[in-house]
């Protein structure tokens, strides 16, 4: 199924008005697993995800997928830190990405109902999406991102400002998606969440990758001194 990977970043850089937000990044990611991106505020976690997904224009270097870039884009989805709700019903939000690619209305409707059931929004299909609670919004955003069955899903701190229960529900959905073969790349501030979900860790500092290792190694005590300090909750700069 996965023909996106491996993806190779070579000197990939993102700039805004001359200032480097992230990069130059050299990185190769393989087809399996959950990559968790951690690091202090302003380290460039969001920028890295946006750059890889292609919402932000590359300021230098290259990103090479194993397939043509347009095809790669079509098989990715992105969940934002602040879920973007379209001003439509829950059903309208879920059917939108399907309708874009020409799925028939009745099939889109069936799949949307199915997707809503999977994230526990089945009885809210007709509710206007902007009126949902924070947790419901993020679950809807997640269901909307997964409904096209992307091979790769980016998540930018999907559980920021959510309570424990909503976080657990989101993590369950993510675990299921990962088990079904969706490649996840997510940033988080929650070290507990990072430990629970990660198979691989990217530790970012000052706009660059400071460390790239398996979760076992990273959390098992063989991380660099800065990363150790960050994990302990010390302030790293």
């Amino acid at each position: 199924m996965s023909n996106l990977f491996p993806v190779t970043l070579e000197g990939a850089t993102l700039r805004r008005s001359g200032k480097v937000l992230v990069g130059p990044v050299n990185l190769e990611l393989r087809a399996k697993g959950v990559t968790v991106v951690i690091g202090p505020n302003g380290a460039g976690k969001t920028s890295l995800l946006r750059m890889m997904h292609g919402i932000a224009r590359l300021g230098g270097g290259s990103i090479r997928w194993a397939c043509p870039p347009e095809e790669a884009r079509a098989h990715q989805a992105f969940v934002f830190q602040q879920p973007i709700m379209m001003r439509r019903s829950v059903l309208g939000n879920l059917t939108y990405p399907l309708r874009l690619t020409g799925t028939s209305w009745s099939e889109a409707r069936d799949r949307a109902t199915q997707a809503a059931t999977e994230v526990g929004l089945a009885d809210m299909l007709d509710r206007p999406a902007p009126y949902l609670s924070g947790g419901e919004r993020q679950k809807l955003a997640l269901a909307r991102a997964l409904i096209t069955r992307p091979e790769l899903l980016f998540l930018d701190e999907p559980c920021a400002s959510l309570d424990g229960r909503a976080t657990r529900e989101i993590e369950e959905i993510l675990t299921r998606a990962a088990a079904a073969g969706t490649r996840l790349i997510m940033s988080t501030h929650d070290m507990g969440q990072a430990r629970r979900l990660a198979t691989e860790v990217l530790f970012l500092m000052n706009g660059n990758i400071h460390e790239h290792s398996s979760a076992e190694m990273f959390f098992g005590g063989s991380a660099s001194p800065q990363a150790q300090a960050f994990l302990k909750g010390d302030i790293v700069e």
Partner: protein, 233 residues
């Protein structure tokens, strides 16, 4: 005094369903609503396109549109007159002094207004949607579509502003329509005429009918817009 007799006059015109009044009221509605539909069909997608698309002349286009909101109707009327007159480039069509000429003039007057307001409203919606729609690989046309559909309530306001400007407009349609009885006379031109003749009561009466009609149309459109779906955003 005058106002009071105007109200009585309007009242009598209405209860007796004065044939002339009904005729010119319907013509007013026909001209303005037709102009509104055409202008909205041009201006709303234009407003959305200006919100979505980044092109070189975008800022200039927006500035020009904003400036054109204050377009003097008489001047528009004059230009349309010159274009449609016998010796003008579109003279062969024989449109001068017809309701069609009035519709053309009104479309020109309200397109910039509707496009400007639509652009303002959709720009905010677009800043909400930007990342999501880019991430979903939407085409330009799909983005415009999404904005027009999800912003429809704000666009209704834009169209209503256009209606308000067109229904009360007199300068342009007087010039290109000519205020010909049973042919191009509408409420506003009739008011101008009666005022000129010194028939203040009748003129006031017509004025109250015009105001009542403008309010009725606004209310009607709002009711339609709201019942169409429960939620409001």
């Amino acid at each position: 005094m005058e106002i009071w007799s105007g109200i009585t006059e309007a009242f009598w015109l209405l209860v007796t369903l004065d044939a002339d009044l009904v005729e010119i009221t319907l013509r007013s509605l026909y001209v303005t609503l037709t102009a509104l539909v055409i202008a909205s069909a041009i201006a709303l997608p234009l407003g959305a396109l200006l919100a979505v698309r980044r092109f070189r002349a975008r800022r200039i286009t927006i500035a020009v549109l904003n400036a054109l909101m204050g377009l003097p109707p008489v001047v528009v009327g004059l230009i349309v007159y010159v274009l449609l007159s016998r010796s003008g480039p579109f003279g062969v069509l024989g449109l001068l002094f017809t309701p069609t000429a009035m519709i053309i003039a009104q479309v020109i007057i309200i397109v910039p207004l509707i496009a400007s307001i639509a652009h303002q409203a959709l720009r905010e919606l677009w800043s909400d949607y930007h990342d999501l729609l880019i991430s979903m690989n939407t085409t330009q046309a799909q983005r415009v579509q999404a904005l027009l559909w999800d912003g429809r309530r704000a666009l209704l306001t834009a169209s209503l502003a256009g209606f308000g400007r067109a229904i009360g407009e007199v300068g342009a349609i007087m010039v290109v329509g000519g205020n010909i009885d049973h042919h191009t006379r509408v409420l506003t031109t009739a008011i101008a005429l009666e005022t000129g003749k010194g028939e203040f009561a009748l003129a006031l009466g017509l004025g109250f009918v015009l105001i009542a009609m403008a309010i009725a149309v606004n209310l009607a459109i709002h009711v339609i817009g709201r019942t169409e779906r429960g939620g409001r955003w």
